[in-house]
Symmetry: C2
């Protein structure tokens, strides 16, 4: 459902339940991604917007909606020997502040006490 | 289906056939709007992207997709005494170049011939 290369993760949104994709987005950010891109086409477009909104507002603090791209793709229907256009969308979610690192802070406070 | 104030038109996309909204967008630009904003929510989101793509690629030359905004709204369901979140989207189409004015061009070419 998602691919992770370097610091950019991509989640392809289809017909599965919303929370599957929200979990994929959270997993992407937890794996160290700075950006997670949601890709969808056709009727799944509105599903992708739902995923972005739920992930951002309920689960991920400091994650913002970045660039949104829309476009269209041609799909060939072999049975009828013709092509159809289908709309596509890409929503990029970006982490706006780094994760708070708990362990290093503790070490620092111990040092400060010694001093 | 659409409102026009100054140079900004708004088209609310719902469940009507695609071409109704495409026609509303074209009418907006023909009435002198510099920007036409498509607004939709819930399942109509993908319909709004379709409208933008069809209007841009098939009917309106020099019109580009500008800002795209996503968000969510709370809707109260009175029967069940609770609220539901619904995703919203705004797609702004902007005219990137002015309409070609045919008459002034003809006058210029006549002057050039004289010179």
């Amino acid at each position: 459902m998602y691919t992770l290369s370097k610091q950019v993760a991509t989640v392809y949104v289809g017909r599965k339940p919303l929370m599957n994709y929200v979990l994929a987005v959270i997993t992407g950010f937890n794996a160290g991604a700075e950006e997670v891109t949601l890709k969808a086409r056709g009727r799944a477009l509105s599903h992708a917007v739902d995923v972005a909104e739920v992930a951002r507002s309920r689960f991920l603090e400091g994650v913002k909606v970045g660039k949104i791209k829309i476009g269209s793709e041609e799909i060939s229907i072999e049975e009828q020997n013709r092509t159809r256009n289908v709309s596509t969308m890409e929503i990029t979610l970006t982490r706006s502040k780094p994760k708070p690192k708990v362990k290093p802070k503790r070490k620092r406070s111990q040092k400060e006490k010694k001093e």
